[in-house]
């Protein structure tokens, strides 16, 4: 599995660039590189649905982030307790990594998953029970339709939330973006 290692190294490099570069537009574009790398990784890991999804979602979020960050300044202030902040952050991350490594030892080896009862049921019965050839879609829309309902609810709530935040109300209490 050399290619997945290479893609992950590319993603880590792009993420470090995105975190550390000072120009905001370059930072956003580097995040786009991380997302495209993730889409490639999904494709290599045999998840074509997720690859399509990640690609289109990445493009949309990239457009919105660029529109949000263009024409704005980037405040860079390194004053304050620089040493204390950095040391505490890095020590927290080290503690997190050690704990995560201990829990990683209990996971199955990469490439040999222990299929649960549920996954075996989905793989064996999805075609006869739902008539769909794509198992992921049959899980998302048939077996677990309540999950998709929650997902759709989240999108609607996000729409309502953004429309409420972006609404301009004048002093008289009349919204003036309605035409």
């Amino acid at each position: 599995m050399l290619e997945i290692h290479l893609i992950l190294l590319f993603m880590i490099a792009a993420a470090i660039i995105a975190v550390e570069v000072r120009d905001m537009l370059s930072s956003v574009v580097a995040v786009g590189a991380v997302g495209i790398g993730l889409s490639l990784a999904f494709l290599v890991l045999k998840a074509p649905d997720l690859a399509i999804m990640q690609l289109v979602v990445e493009i949309l979020s990239l457009i919105i982030l660029v529109r949000a960050t263009s024409h704005r300044d980037l405040p860079f202030s390194a004053s304050g307790r620089w040493v204390f902040n950095t040391v505490s952050t890095i020590s927290f991350i080290l503690i997190f990594l050690v704990c995560a490594y201990i829990s990683l030892l209990n996971l199955p080896v990469f490439g040999e998953p222990q299929l649960r009862e549920l996954s075996k049921f989905y793989i064996d019965e999805a075609r006869t029970l739902t008539g769909a050839e794509n198992i992921v879609e049959s899980i998302a829309l048939r077996f677990r339709a309540y999950d998709s309902l929650g997902e759709a609810t989240a999108i609607v709530v996000a729409t309502i939330g953004v429309l409420a935040i972006a609404r301009r109300v004048s002093i008289k209490g009349k919204a003036d973006d309605e035409r």
Partner: protein, 112 residues
Amino acid sequence: MSIYILCLILFSVGLYCVLRKRNLIKIIIGIGIMEYAANLFFILIGYRQEGRAPIYAHDQVINNMVDPLPQAVVLTSIVLGLALMLLLVAISIRIYEKYRTFDITKINRLKG
């Protein structure tokens, strides 16, 4: 095993960004990187060596499919991540309009 560790390092880069940076847009970027790493970790757990994509073919029997359940869960997670990011961007544009800055320490100072 080394792939899991690389994925954890990617997560830590996002965590460092969220904890250390003071710019609101950088914090949103850090949250996005953490979300990417978490999604990738799910798919890595479900992957099987020399596996096939979980799609039936018309004329052959496929025995070595990868685990379809994490893929269906991550499909939901990607959409939720997009909704989260849109809300964060809207709120941070509002904050910029009010305080004229993305710096969280100055926002804190100007309050009240």
